[in-house]
Structures are given as C-alpha cells and as structure tokens.
C-alpha cells in the first residue's frame, strides 16, 4: 500500500491543486482552463531580474515552498494508511508546514525589492499570530486520539468524528489552514495592496513553482483536516480512499469559496483576536477534551 501511495500522492496533489485553481479561476470570473493557460505561459516566460538579488536563497525559498507541502503530505492517510506512518506524524505535519515560513521569507527577502520584503514580514507576523492556536488545535486531536500518529487519530474516530465533539478546534484549524496557505482572508502576504506581495517580482519558472507550492499547501491543509477531524476514510458503501478524497474535496472547495466571500484580514488587527480569543478558546477546547478523555 505505501508503494501505491507514493505514486498516488503526487498525482492526487496535482489533480486537486489544478481543481482548486480551476474553481478559483471560475469564481474570479475567469475560465476553468485558466490554470492550464497560466502553466503554459509561465513555462515559456522569462525570469525577471531585479537589482542584486540573492539568487541562491531565492531558489532555496521557492523550491522549499514546493517541498514542504509534499513532505507534509506523506503522513496524511489516503484511506487507511499514509505513505509514512510516523509515530509523531502530527508533529511532522506541523513542522513541515512551519518550513513554509522559511520558504516564504526567503522568497520575499531574496529578490531585493520592497513589496516582496514587506509581504515576507507580513507572513512571519501571520505565522506568529496563527501558529499557537493551530498547535493547540493539533494537540487537542492528539489528546483525543491518545497518540501523535495520524492513523491512530483516524482509528480513534471510528465511533464519533472529532469534528463533533471538538468543533472549536476544527474551526481554529480551518482558520489556520487559510493562514498557512496564505489564502483568501489570510492572503495579506501576497496582497493586492502590495502588487502581489511576496510574489510581486516572480516570473517564469520561479512563479510557476511558487504557485504550485501554494496550491499544494492549500490541498495539504484541506487534506489533513480529514484524518484529524473528519474520520479519515470512514463512511458507508464507498471504499476508504474515495471517502477521504470526497471529504478533502469538500474542505478544499470550502476554503476556495471563502476567498470570494471574505476580504483580507490584517495582522495588526487579527493578532489581538488570535491571542485574546482563539488561544483561550483552544485552551478551553483542550480542557474539555482532556476531561472527557480522563
């Protein structure tokens, strides 16, 4: 099964990423084929050169933006077993998703231009705002499952999905999923007020990798919600992998749709909410789950 997963995983990421990009294009008034046109365009487009860029760090940043979601995806079960069922799978997922901080900061900093630099700092601020509630949401799942292993988190939801008895943690997870993929309401690091922020100076292959990494992140963030909160592959009639796919698509569609309903949130206002509202809520949820488990 893991060997099959090794093939299926990149395929699923590509297909779901393209589907998300297509849905987003249609909701933005474009055509569903727009992502394919954009890929073709970026494949033949020149790179853009800025004054004195740090090319090495730019490459490292853009490539690690693609690598991080791929590595995060290996612990997400496609049905019953993930490609690599690490005993600390949930922490691994968290660690890989934090690597995006580095990737984005490097990308924004190394092109040596003001708007990408500001976008990069915005993402670090965003990271500091969303990461703690996010970690508490993940810890709540681990506490409910009694394990840091993704497959055991799925096992623990055989009777009742975690979303039912830890809804606050699920909501906080969804907010942080938007934040980690800097998507929709959390898209200030690539905001239109900064002419595209971190990616303002990226063209050609650099931009292609950046966009691919971003959509992969969105897919992975949606995909991880399934084993963490939505019972993994559990469901009647259909096989487990298909249920996992259906649930992932549903969460992904929700995340894409939110972008068209909610304006961008600035971190100077969100941080206060995050620390004064979301963290206490996450702690209350953790306490409730802790009491139930004990």
């Amino acid at each position: 099964m893991p060997e099959l997963g090794l093939l299926a995983l990149p395929l699923a990421l590509v297909v779901l990423g393209l589907a998300a990009a297509g849905l987003d294009a249609v909701l933005s008034g474009g055509r569903a084929s727009a992502p394919f046109g954009e890929i073709a365009r970026l494949l033949v487009q020149q790179r853009r050169r800025t004054t004195r860029p740090d090319v090495l760090l730019l490459r490292v940043g853009v490539i690690s933006l693609v690598a991080a979601p791929l590595l995060a995806a290996v612990v997400i079960p496609l049905g019953d077993a993930p490609v690599a069922d690490l005993s600390a799978g949930i922490v691994w997922f968290n660690a890989m998703e934090v690597c995006v901080w580095g990737a984005l900061w490097l990308t924004g900093w190394s092109v040596n231009s003001v708007f990408p630099l500001v976008g990069a700092y915005r993402f670090v601020a965003q990271g500091l705002a969303y990461e703690l509630p996010h970690m508490f949401a993940l810890i709540t799942v681990a506490l409910g499952a009694g394990s840091l292993r993704m497959s055991e988190a799925v096992q623990a939801q055989q009777g009742l999905w975690f979303v039912v008895w830890m809804p606050l943690a699920f909501l906080i997870y969804l907010v942080s999923a938007l934040a980690m993929a800097f998507w929709g309401p959390m898209s200030q690091p690539v905001g239109s007020d900064l002419a595209g922020g971190v990616r303002a100076e990226l063209a050609g292959p650099d931009r292609l990798l950046f966009q691919a990494g971003r959509y992969a992140l969105l897919v992975v963030a949606a995909g991880a919600a399934v084993p963490l909160f939505l019972g993994g592959g559990a469901g009647p009639v259909l096989p487990g992998w298909l249920w996992a796919l259906v649930k992932t698509v549903a969460v992904l569609a929700l995340l894409v749709w939110v972008r068209h309903r909610v304006p961008a949130v600035r971190m100077d206002r969100f941080t206060q909410v995050s620390w004064l509202v979301l963290i206490p809520l996450a702690l209350v949820q953790l306490l409730v789950v802790g009491i139930v488990v004990v």
Partner: protein, 182 residues
C-alpha cells in the same frame, strides 16, 4: 544508516562553518538553520522521532524570529553591502577551534557505558514518562517561571503599555495603534 549519519554530520558541520564564512545575515541565518535541521534529522536516525521532528519545528520558527530581529535592525536587503559575520576575527578563530578540539577530544576520551537493556517500543511515550513522571513538579514550576520571566521581560521592555493604548483610565474602547495620537 551509517552513510546517512555521516552525510548529516558533514552537512551539519559544514553548514555550521558556513555561518561564519558567508557575507550576509540571511545566508548566515539559514546556514545555521541547515546545520540544526541536519541535527534534527540525525535524531530521526536513532528512532527518536518526536525529538527529531520537534527540533526541526522549533528551529525553523526560532531562526525565522531571529532573522526578523537581525534584519529589522539592519535592513541590508540581499547582501547589498557584504558584511563579515565575525567580530575580532583572529580571537574568534582561535577560541572556536579550541572549543571544537576540546569537544571532539571529549567524545573520544570519554569511556562510554555499554548499552543496558533494549530501546523502548515507543520512545515518545517513554520520554513523556521520564519528563512528566517523577519530575512533574519541577517541570511545572520551571514552566511557570519561564512564562513569568517572558511576560515580565516584555512588560519591562515595552515602550507603550496598556495605559498608553487604552487611556489613563482604560476608557478607550479600541486601543490606539502605534503612531496614532490620542
């Protein structure tokens, strides 16, 4: 296994040296991060998954926060003006070489105890018991002490407190942003 260990060890040391060789703060920061990530991956080799992954997680965040502060004080985008990463070059070289030799000598001169017993099935669980079992009280006290230290440091360092933001009687409904006049 041994090959992977040696690769990680070489990467770790080489990246560590690179920290002092490169000429920009960003490169130095991320060279240090590469070195620490190699250490984290080495932990995965000895099946300490939790500790290894935790090192990766914490080090990425820490290096990013460090980069923010370093470069905030000195913007120097993309190494526009190359700068040396060491002060007092000669003494730094001598001290670091001496410390390195000392540590390596320590590794080889220590008589390591032979392994007793088998590694546990779930090292993460064992680690949790070791930390939280007999030493629970100590850990909790230290945890609260660290938190109190952090909060008081921030309070002492902050330029604008609660009263500057909310008014002398905390009467404002919305806090003033920095730079806003009351």
């Amino acid at each position: 296994m041994a090959v992977a260990f040696w690769i990680l060890a070489v990467v770790s040391v080489a990246a560590g040296i690179a920290v002092f060789v490169v000429d920009s703060m960003a490169r130095a920061t991320f060279a240090l991060l590469a070195s620490l990530l190699a250490v984290g991956l080495a932990f995965l080799l000895i099946d300490l998954e939790y500790l290894g992954v935790l090192i990766i997680l914490m080090m990425v965040m820490e290096m990013l926060v460090m980069a923010v502060f370093m470069i905030m004080y000195m913007m120097n985008p993309a190494g526009l003006m190359p700068m040396k990463m060491v002060h007092n070059h000669r003494a730094a070289m001598i001290i670091s070489a001496a410390v390195f030799v000392l540590l390596v000598a320590g590794i080889f001169l220590t008589s390591w105890p032979p392994r007793g017993g088998e590694p546990p099935a779930d090292p993460t669980h064992q680690l949790g018991l070791a930390v939280m079992g007999p030493k629970m009280l100590v850990m909790m006290v230290i945890g609260v002490a660290i938190l109190a230290t952090m909060i008081s440091t921030v309070v002492l360092a902050t330029h604008r407190g609660r009263y500057a933001r909310y008014g002398d009687d905390l009467e404002r409904k919305r806090p003033l942003d920095p730079g806003e006049e009351s």
